[in-house]
């Protein structure tokens, strides 16, 4: 398998971010994204990604390159890479998860959703609102009602930090 890809000329793709930066990557790296794969199968070699900004795209290309070269021996290395990859701010994670969703990269989606869920699961609803930039649309009476109905879920101390 490795020898045939070496002898053949590598097929390349150009990805264009929402802020008009272009990135050249190998087709074999790009097709880990279902969205890109579908376009490649339709004969495209130039892929505009109007929903993905340069900052996120650079990270995602890094991820795809790393995971395209997955072998038995670099398992640990990839684990370390993944750990660093998700070690970022919530806003970066949101940008990445939205891009991964658009690009349909399921392993990356799972990793990002799991990370976000793990990082919010001990937080208070108030902290979650701030993290997701949500305005509370309940009246104080409605809030009290929900707290009462789910009393056990509100027992104990919650993490109020926003990181």
């Amino acid at each position: 398998m490795a020898s045939t890809t070496e002898t053949k000329q590598k097929k390349m793709l150009i990805l264009k971010s929402a802020d008009n930066d272009e990135f050249e990557i190998e087709e074999s790296v790009g097709v880990q994204s279902e969205t890109i794969k579908n376009l490649v199968e339709d004969g495209f070699t130039f892929v505009p990604l109007p929903n993905v900004y340069t900052k996120a795209l650079i990270k995602i290309i890094d991820y795809l390159k790393k995971h395209a070269n997955k072998t038995d021996s670099n398992d640990e290395e990839i684990k370390t890479f993944d750990k660093d990859f998700v070690n970022t701010t919530f806003d970066d994670l949101f940008e990445l998860v939205s891009a991964a969703n658009y690009l349909h990269i399921s392993c990356l989606m799972n990793m990002l959703c799991q990370t976000i869920a793990d990082r919010i699961k001990d937080k208070s609803p108030e902290a979650v609102r701030k993290i997701f930039h949500i305005n509370c649309d309940y009246t104080p009476e409605e809030e009290a009602k929900i707290r009462k109905a789910n009393a056990q879920a509100f027992e104990g101390q919650f993490d109020e930090s926003l990181d």
């Binding site: 949101f94 919010i120 929900i146 789910n150 056990q152």
Partner: protein, 218 residues
């Protein structure tokens, strides 16, 4: 607003603007935070309470749990299941055989159960062996019950939920709920009945499901 701030709120908006994306994230949360995060906003509440959400929510990501809600479709599923089991009385001797009707509940992972009993006060605990493969459908479980091996036991029960016990490291257990009265008929005709809270009590307090049965009875 600075460009950086704009970008920041934009990325959060992308999540807020897509039910699909937010649902995907919420599906990775365990039961307790999900109940808590109903308070985040009306939209979160409606996504979490949606019957489609509980049908997608799988114990692969959460070792063992099931959302139980009176307002959702899940409850009607449970009710069906409940009726089915209610009409099933298991007669056993030499240990207890437990049949669980799981055909309408897709998100269960069950294999073997460990049954523990202390009398009095009595207590039932069912440990699930997670190393074994997932089984769906009607599942038969055999548990040995020291002290009752030569007794005749009639057990009518309903299983409502699987939920992992908080603060206990990775030991999921099955809470078994008996909707009406539990009848233990010991050989020789002695019969004891244990009154338990109604199903409505459980619906109102979903976390009872994860409690020890002995606590539920209190």
């Amino acid at each position: 607003m600075s460009p950086v701030e704009q970008l920041v709120s934009f990325s959060a908006e992308k999540i807020e603007g897509s039910d699909d994306l937010l649902t995907k994230i919420l599906l990775f949360l365990p039961a307790r935070p999900l109940f808590r995060f109903k308070l985040v906003s009306k939209r979160w509440m409606s996504l979490i309470s949606d019957p489609r959400f509980s049908s997608l929510w799988k114990p692969e990501s959460f070792p063992s749990a099931l959302i139980l809600e009176s307002s959702s479709g899940k409850f009607s599923t449970l009710m069906k299941c409940l009726k089915w089991i209610k009409s099933t009385t298991v007669d056993v001797s030499m240990g207890i055989y437990i049949w669980l009707a799981l055909q309408s509940l897709t998100c269960f992972r069950l294999t073997s159960l460990y049954l523990e009993m202390t009398t009095p006060p009595w207590k039932l605990k069912y440990y699930i062996d997670r190393r074994k493969p997932t089984l769906c459908g009607i599942q038969k479980m055999i548990c040995s019950w020291p002290g009752f091996t030569s007794s005749y036991i009639k057990l009518t029960f309903t299983m409502l939920s699987l939920i992992s016990e908080a603060n206990q490291q990775l030991v999921p257990y099955l809470a078994l709920y008996m909707p009406c009265k539990v009848k233990f008929t010991v050989k020789g005709g002695i019969c004891e009945e244990f009154p338990l809270p109604s199903v409505h009590h459980l619906i109102e307090n979903p976390f009872w499901i994860g409690s020890k049965l002995s606590n539920i009875g209190q």
